[in-house]
Every structure is written in structure tokens, then in C-alpha cells.
Amino acid sequence: MENSIKPVVVVIGNGMVGYKFCERLLAKSTGFNLIIFGEEPRRAYDRVHLSEYFSGKTAEDLSMSTAEWYAENNITLHLSDPVLEINRPNKTIHSQKGITINYDYLVLATGSSAFVPNIPGIEKEGVFVYRTIEDLEMMKTHAKKAKKGAVIGGGLLGLEAAKALLDLGLQETHVIEFAPRLMPRQIDSAGSMMLENKLKTFGLQIHLNKSTSSINGDKEINALQFSDDSKMDLDMLVISAGIRPRDELAKLAGLEVGSRGGIQVNEKLQTTDEDIFAIGECALHNGMIYGLVAPGYEMAEVVAANLCGGDKSFNGFDMSTKLKLIGVDVASFGDPFVTEPDGRTIVFEDTHKGIYKRINVTTDGKYLLGGILIGDADAYNILLQTVNNKIVLPPNPEDLILGSRGGEGNAGAGVMSLPDEALICSCEAVSKGTICCAVTEGGVTSVDGMKKCTKAGTGCGGCIPLVKDLIVGTMKENGVYVKNVVCEHFDYSRQELLSLVKIDGIKTYDEVLTKYGKGDGCEVCKPVVASILASLWNDLILKQDTIQDSNDRFLANIQKGGTYSVVPRIAGGEITPDKLIAIGTVGKKYNLYTKITGGQRIDLFGAHLSDLPDIWEELIDAGFESGHAYGKSLRTVKSCVGSTWCRFGLHDSVSFAIEVEDRYKGLRSPHKLKGGVSGCIRECAEAQSKDFGIIATEKGWNLYVCGNGGSKPQHAQLLATDIDKETCVKYLDRFLMFYVKTADPLTRTATWLNKMEGGLAYLKNVIINDSLGICEELEAAMVQHANTYQCEWKAAIENPEMRKRFSHFVNAPKVKDPTSELVPMRDQVKAKEW
């Protein structure tokens, strides 16, 4: 066995820090035989985000890794098996299940337990601590019959626990704090008042200066008795009065522990036995217990590095912290409490918005010492950097919390002025120098790339805005022209690539890549080139199916669970009763969920991949064609009923909508396209929220362009007034082709216009006055498109080779994906939650 010659490292405790230690050690060396003992029944999980367990996350979601991870890395994991004894002379440990193991090195990562004060009645049912998933599960069960709950402890963890009670749906939640303010270790009383007011709006009731004298009730809790003789009826209580290091095993083994708990360690995190280390919340370093995860991770790194022959030390850790408590930003950094004569204080308070900011500066006003942010903690990162790096303050330090009011503020400049040693990512200990070096020498240009290269931003993620600013700032400093290219494989913008492909008459992705690109392509450039090829040549996209995005590859929209939705074209929203019946018949036969879309058509959800060709065969037989809901192409042209029925209608808007939809259907474009035609100024088709909108007037039609609904609604702008139908179609041909040829990938017409130099005036000049002399070409391209249109689904079902592609298993084409589950909802089905 090769393992027998490797030194054995036993880790006691499988919490976040124990897990991180394994991760760090593995990253440095595979020369150890790693064995972990955990007392909890599950793999290490994210205790910091424990309250999310009540807002929908599962234990698996919170897990730090997969079961396979341990196996793949040859780690032996013993769960539900606490270590009961350390035999130091023999260097062995004994577990509850009777396992004895010889260790070379022992790492204690036993963490902490909740400190439970000795209040009479504390043992009653309905009293909980807030520490593990098991605690949470017990709380969940009890909360079903509870109405009114309280948390003892208004510190960081106590407020987290209060959030959990809110999430459990209790009618009343109270927080009881012994001190005169909330989070007494992190914030001052003014900050606490602001936080209290904020928390009250979320339904929390807060009681300060209150000490609990007893817990009343027979078997189960029914009230709290306070030392001021007041009383509170309740049926659920969570104790969060601090933590107590788990040092009992160390004590039993004769290792030195502090008088108030904690395993004594030196700067190498060695206990009084040099082969035994203690890390995380169980370790007592220089009189301090660190109850946060970041210092625990740093300790894990130090021990892992030193076991691999390094020489790292743990020299204390900054306890600055920023978090979101029940939706309120709270941050505390440096020394938050400095007062005169040790320093001066600048305070900003906005009771209307619930914002409190305090910074403490040296008496000479030169340096920042610390501060507190409530309600808005955006400045946290840069303020913390300013403290840690002793950066000289600007002449008006209040700008740091008020923002520069001169109007020339530049956040990037602040970041770039940091010294190289400045610690940017404290979870992974990455400095500014390392990040800038990764940009300059490693060629990193994205946050993703930075995560891969330096691990910066992979912990809590709080530093990502700083990392982003540093990447851009460094690139600018290096004189890098940040060019708008498609992706790493092409040094061209979409527009440049389109021109090249057109001039050279290239028809396939592979040729495009070989000729103009490098590498093997990716999920970004493939659909871009696919769209360019489709726009230029209008050939069947399925001939190059593997360069299409999944929706285009299978001509349907992938949905949760891996089934697809099907949208037949219903031009202008006009449909015959027979066609409605045909859709109903297909929906019933294939057990599909049906819904009317926003674009006046019908979407059928829950189709298995292998059913798609059969579904389409039936739809096409009934006279339907593809609706291109899956493509970056024309979706629908919405219409109101117009002069054919409506007593206000001026012209026949439905017929015009159908005509336009038929002309542009299948047109591949940088993003999806939507249109609308209204029969009068009442605008029932909402045409002004579309990429193009046509509205009937007394004298003809008004043409609007570049509108948008969606997340950034934008009104379409008037391109031409009172034009006839033919002119309207001519302008539309030009407008759409101009957009197709010049816009960046995934840019809607509204954004395209917003970025266009000269704006609408320029666009009008190009489309109406032909200022670029390209209109003939644009019109010809659109005519070619309309002449070469064919229904992709018809082509697909008629070609046996293409049809074959629509199966989940190539070696069992009739078997459907067994993991695609549908569950009932309101007489139909829906996808199972993921």
C-alpha cells in the first residue's frame, strides 16, 4: 500500500475550517494520508449561511463539497464518530465507534458550541441553540406549533437566528439583549439605533438592557421572566449568547487551555504538543478566540503550508466585517469605537433612508482608524483598505462617506492608489500586487480568470467589485486598449467578422475559425458566427447544429428538467378555431402544459426531446410552422384587431401585422426581434414597446423603432410619419438589415441605438436619406432573406438524419431521460423544482 509510507494527518472536526485545511493541504501536496473525524452526520457545510436553510436552501446546497470529493482525493471521512481520546505518548486517537488510528500529525478543528447561560428552566422543551443543521431541523419541527418566539442575544449570530425565526413564519419575533445596544462588539449606540429602526420595519421587536432571570413553563416553555420583574409570554426560544470553544478533548489530553476556554496555540498554531495543531474557533491565539471564518481559513493555510515544509506564521487577524443582516448592510472595520482624545469622529446620519456612517480619523486628520457603516456599506472595501494600508487621507475625509461632491469622483483611481501589499481578498489572502501581476504577466482579463489564477473572490465574494476595478485599472495602466472582441478566439467585433465572412463568402463555422480565429472556439463565438452565417446566407441552421446554442440546436426552448417548450407561429395573433383545436389535441396527446404568451401565441411546455419531431409533424400537418421562439430572430408581430372589427380602427392592423411577420420570420439577428401594429392611436398592440412598431394614422402609418419592454423598458422613437405601407416596409427592410449587420452580439435594438453615435438623427439619415449609400444593398439582402425562407421544423422532420438527432440516448433512442420529472399543478403539469 502506497498510503502506508505517507505521513498520517488526522483532522478532528469536519466544519468549514477543517474542510478548508484539507483543501489547502491537498492543493500543496498529495503526500499525506488524510483522515477526518466529524461528530455531525454530514459532510462539512457552510455554517455562515445557515439561515438560508429556512429560506429554501437544502443541506446539500449548503454542503462545501460532494461525497465524491473525499473519495477522489483519497480522504477517509468518518462521520457521526467523535474522537473520544488522544493518546499522546503512543500518538493514537480513539473514536466513539472504536476506531484507533496512529497519527503523525493531529489537527484539532473542533470549533465551538453555543454558550448556554445557566438560567433556571433552560432545559425546557422549546429552547434551542443555533449551531448545526440538526438544531435547525428541531427548530423547524417546533415552529409548526409555535406562534411567538424570541432570541436571547442581540449579537451577530443572535440576529441571524432572529432572521431564521422570521423565515419560519412565527407571528412575533423578539430579540432580547443584555447590553444597551445591538451587536455591542461591532457597532456603537447610534449605529445600533439605526439598525433597530431598520429591523423593526422587518417585524422584529427589540428589547435592550434586559436580562433573563428564568424560563417558565411545565415541561414546555411558556414565558420568560426578566430581572426587572417584567414577563413575556412565548412558546419558542433560541439562545445565542456567545460561543464556547470545544477544548474538552484537548484538555483531557493534557494540552494547555485558556482559563476561559480555547486551546492555547503559538504563531505556528501548534499546541503545547508540537505535532498537534489547533485551528478555527477552538484555538486561543494571543488571548483571542476568532469567531469568524476568514481567520479560521488563514489558520488552515498556515498549518497546511508548514506541514509541506513552509514557514508561515499566524499573526492575528483583522476582525473587520461586512454582512447583510435581514437585508440591512452592516459593516464595522478597524477600531470602530475610537473617541477623543485618541481620534476624531465624523458621522453621517440619514434617518429617512436608515443610513448611519461613522469614520474615526487621527487627531491630525491624516489617517483613518476605523468606522461603522449601517444601511449602506458600499464603501466598506475601500475604507478597510485605507485603514489597513495607512493611506494618507484626502483633505476632506468626509468625502469618504459622503462621496465626492465635486462631480469628478473616480472609484477606480482609489483602488489603483493602494500599495501592492494591500490585502484585497482576505478569505484567500490575495494582495493587490498578486492581482495586478496576474493581469500584467498572466494576461488575466476577467473576474473568472482571476478566480482561476489567484483564487481571489472565491470565498465570500465581497471583494469582487474591487477585483474587477483592479483588473480594468491595471489594463488601462498598461495601455491595453480594451477592444470589443467576440471572445478569446476572435480578435474582431461581430460587425468586423460579419464583413469578413461576407466578403470571403465563407459558409461554415470551421472555416471562419481557421481563417480568422484561433483555438477551438467556444460557447460564445459559436452562436455569434452561427447568427452571422444565418443572417448572410439564410441556410438551414441544423446543417451546423453543434455550433448553435442548445435552443437553436433542437429548435425548441430548453426548460427546467431538460424538457423543451414548443411555440408554433401564430402570425399577428390570428388563429382559426380548427388550429386552436389542433394545438389542444397535440397538447393533450403529449401531456404538455399550455400557456398564452406575451406575444399573442401559445406555448406548449414539457416536451421530451424525442417527442419533438412527432409533435411538429402533427403541428405542421395542421398548417403550423416554426415560431422561432428558440432563436435570436423575429418572434412575433403583435396586433390589435384594427379596422376589421374595431369601431375606432383606422386601418387593417391585423393584415399588416401578418404581412410583416411573414416577411421577416426566420430572420436571424444579434438578438430577438419583436414588432407590433396598432390600428389607431389608442395603441392596443403596445407597438411602442417593440423593436419596431407601426401605428395607423388618418393619412397612413407612423413607424417607430428601437423600443423595448423587459428589464429596461424604453419607448420606441418615431422614425417616419404618415407613410404608406410600401414605404413602411422599405424602411423596415433597411432598418432591420442595418441592425443585423452592425449590432454587437446579444444587443437589442434599443441598446444598439443608445450606443450609436449621433443617435436617432444619424439612424434617420442612414435609413431615410441613404447617407451611407447602402440602402439598395440592405433591401436586396432582405429580399434574399424572404425568398430563401423555409420552415426549419419542416426541413428537420423530413430529413431522417436530422430527425435522428432528437433523442436523449443515442444508444436507446426510445428511452426518455428518466430524470426529467413533471409534477401536477392546477390540472396541468410543471417542471420539478431544481
Binding site: D448, D510, G519, D520, C522, T546, D549, H808
Partner: protein
Amino acid sequence: MDTNSLNTIDFNSTLVADGKWFLACYASDVPMNGGACVKYEDEQIAIFNFSRRGEWFATQNLCPHKKQMALSRGMIGSSGEACEPKVACPFHKKTFSLITGECISGDECAIKTYPIKVEDGKVYIGVE
């Protein structure tokens, strides 16, 4: 030789699980520069025919991000100077190395990769 596992597959009796190499499908079943999914007992394995590189890869079909059986329907490509071959999940474009299985675009856990070989137009996957 154990052929029982193939009883669940309702066609093609020529497929046999032969010790370590499982005959998964024909090379022509997998589109050029794309993927397809095969069923092996209760496992779903994604096969990629990276014809541009003249290479084949096999990974688990499950994307660890939202636990969807979808990787075989993803686009393949390469990443970085070293041209690391990768696949992008069609759901949220998480990308994974086809060699190591490692997640290239974030913190998702790695996917399983399988040995694969093509002989006489047949694709074999190494299974345990």
C-alpha cells in the same frame, strides 16, 4: 461477460459490456464537434466527438450546478493559451474541462470523466 445490463436497452443487440470497455455507440451517432448521451446501466454518459481536434471525450451527463442531465447537449470549445478542451452546459453556461472535469467558469465541483476509444467506427467507454 455480463450482458444483463443491456436488457434495459430496447434495441441493437450488438452492444456488449465487455469487461472494462463498454461499447457505447457508433462514431457516426455522435455529431461532429458536438455531443451525444449514452445510457450505461443507470448512468448517463456524455460523449463528445471533438472532430476539429481529432479527439473524443466522455464525461458524466449531469451538470453539477443545477443537477440537470444536459452536458451532452452543450457546446464544446477550448479555453486559454493551452487550448484546454471544454464543454458549456446549455442551462447556465457553466464550463468544464473535458480532460480533468474541473469547472473552468466558477466554483462548481468537477465532473467525472471516462476513458474513451474509437475502433472500427465504434465508440468504447471505460467503465468500472
